[in-house]
């Protein structure tokens, strides 16, 4: 059974000035443990789609289901990593990591242990007691990811988690994140502007069209070199360029409409 399902979902934003139809007729089904990337032109509604799955937005049309149950509000099963890190500057790194656990009234001792463990693994062990302003952009982003993981979600929604990073950190971090997510058997939906990231991390890449957007194509990323390749290996695999070009071309059509 699919873990995440969207059935004929549509979403419009209403403001006093206007109505913005962001999403239209979205149908989507994601299996347990699957890694999905979503790419699309800026402003097409990728963040909106994640907000729908997280339960922070209600669809104006259609249904969103998680594990067969209709989503009505946020759930502890879902961890949402927002486009910006939003660390609280009045808390040190460790206490920032415990925000989710605190809100959900999880066992503080356990959460703390997990937070420290993950900090250590991500090479941030010595920064537990630092303030967020003492961290670099990449470090902040890693802290934000750990904050999401400490709350122990089954499903991870990642909204451009690496966009603020330099290329090198980005490659290493995406490799790390990929392995963590796969090891822990979590389902992940990654929104990104970086096609190479989208292809190398995901089992399937979904391309969204311009607003009112829908999912225009789904590319299943399979390589002749075998299954379970790491992002690094996938970038070197034979059909990588084929996928890259196909998605690139498709996006170009959405950005520059051909009349």
């Amino acid at each position: 059974m699919a873990q995440i399902e969207l059935k004929d979902v549509g979403l419009s934003y209403f403001t006093l000035k206007q109505e913005t139809e962001a999403l239209r007729d979205i149908n989507l089904s994601i299996k347990h443990g699957e890694f999905i990337s979503i790419v699309g032109p800026s402003g097409c509604g990728k963040s909106t789609l994640l907000s729908l799955v997280s339960g922070m937005l209600k669809p104006t049309k259609g249904k969103v289901l998680i594990d067969g149950q209709e989503v009505s509000g946020t759930s502890p099963k879902v961890g949402y990593m927002l486009q910006h890190d939003h660390l609280f500057e009045w808390r040190d790194v460790l206490n920032n990591l415990l925000v989710g656990a605190e809100i959900r009234r999880m066992d503080r001792g356990k959460a703390k242990q997990k937070a420290l463990e993950l900090l250590e693994r991500y090479g941030l062990g010595e920064f537990a007691r630092h303030g967020p302003s003492q961290l670099s952009g990449g470090m902040r982003q890693r802290v934000a990811l750990i904050r999401t993981l400490v709350a122990e979600p089954d499903i991870l929604l990642l909204d451009e988690p690496f966009s603020a990073l330099d290329y090198q950190t980005r490659l290493t971090l995406s490799e790390e994140v990929f392995h963590i997510i796969k090891d822990q058997g979590k389902t992940a939906v990654l929104v990104t502007h970086d096609l190479s990231e989208a292809i190398s991390m995901a089992d399937r890449v979904m391309v969204m069209s311009k607003r009112p957007s829908t999912i225009s194509t789904v590319h299943t990323i399979l390589f002749e070199e075998g299954d379970n390749l790491s992002p690094w290996k996938k970038r070197e695999a034979g059909r990588y360029n084929h996928f890259f070009n196909a998605i690139w071309k498709e996006l170009e059509e959405h950005v520059i409409p051909t009349v």
């Binding site: 946020t74 927002l82 939003h86 609280f88 500057e89 303030g131 709350a151």
Partner: protein, 266 residues
């Protein structure tokens, strides 16, 4: 190791600071000396202006007699209580406005009008409703609470929506958002509001004492004016100045502590 250039820089900066403090002090001394001499040589009438040496004598008389410090203490206490009440009340109302958009929409014009209304005009009403002692608190709170509401509320508005969205993504309740984001993020605004309130509340207290009380520096000033004792009036004003310096000092200490505790920059 710091470079010699940096040492020079530090030395110059330090000397600048010292010159500013010295000049400040000289201005005060010059002013007092001029005042004293002008009164001594009858350029001005000491009956109307008093003079520093005379002030010092009356200060000692009033202080030893015991009543001056008592009056200062009373005004100080009234101001402190007034500040605490308006901070708590103002913050509570600002929270209500954040909690219920409806309430804030409905009450907004009333707040604007109340803010513009000269609170002194309410003096007689407070006197009748609250009696001669409590009307002072009424006046102090009336003057500072509206500004508190406005400042704290604008602080809440500045907090980025997305920080609250992050809280929402973990399923936070409104109360959790208040406790974990709004209040701690507003610490710099609380401090700024507190600084404004020290001045405003003191105005309210003195105004209240003018109107009704039997004690406090405001009472001394009015009394001194009525019996034409300029010394008493001036000494009371000096004490008032001293009181505000002390209150500002306390707020600054609080600010430093809060900044350290909450890691806020600047």
């Amino acid at each position: 190791m710091s470079s010699p250039l940096y040492d020079d820089y530090l030395r110059i900066q330090k000397r600048r600071l010292r010159i500013v403090s010295l000049t400040r002090l000289s201005v005060l001394i010059l002013f007092l000396a001029l005042w004293e001499l002008a009164a001594e040589w009858r350029w001005i009438d000491p009956m109307l202006t008093s003079k520093p040496s005379q002030l010092w004598t009356s200060f000692r008389e009033l202080a030893f007699e015991g009543s001056l410090f008592k009056h200062t203490w009373i005004s100080g206490l009234e101001t402190l209580v007034g500040i605490v009440i308006s901070m708590l009340l103002g913050t509570a109302i600002a929270v209500l406005f954040w909690w219920s958009t409806f309430a804030s929409k409905v009450l907004e014009p009333y707040i604007v009008v109340l803010n513009a209304l000269p609170k002194v005009a309410l003096g007689p009403i407070f006197y009748i409703w609250l009696g001669d002692r409590y009307s002072i608190y009424g006046m102090a709170v009336a003057i500072s609470v509206i500004v508190t509401i406005i400042m704290v509320e604008s602080g809440f508005r500045e907090i980025s929506k997305t920080k609250l969205k992050l809280m929402g993504s973990f399923g936070a309740t409104r109360f959790q958002m208040l406790r974990m984001v709004l209040l701690p993020a507003s610490v710099p605004h609380f401090i700024a509001t507190l600084k404004v309130n020290v001045g405003l509340t003191l105005v309210g207290v003195v105004m209240g004492e003018f109107l009704s009380s039997k004690a406090g520096l405001g009472y001394l000033i009015i009394y001194g004016g009525q019996v034409f004792q300029m010394n008493l009036v001036m000494v009371s004003i000096m004490m008032l100045a001293l009181l505000s310096v002390i209150l500002y000092g306390i707020v600054n200490l609080l600010a430093r502590y809060a900044r350290k505790k909450y890691n806020h920059e600047s």
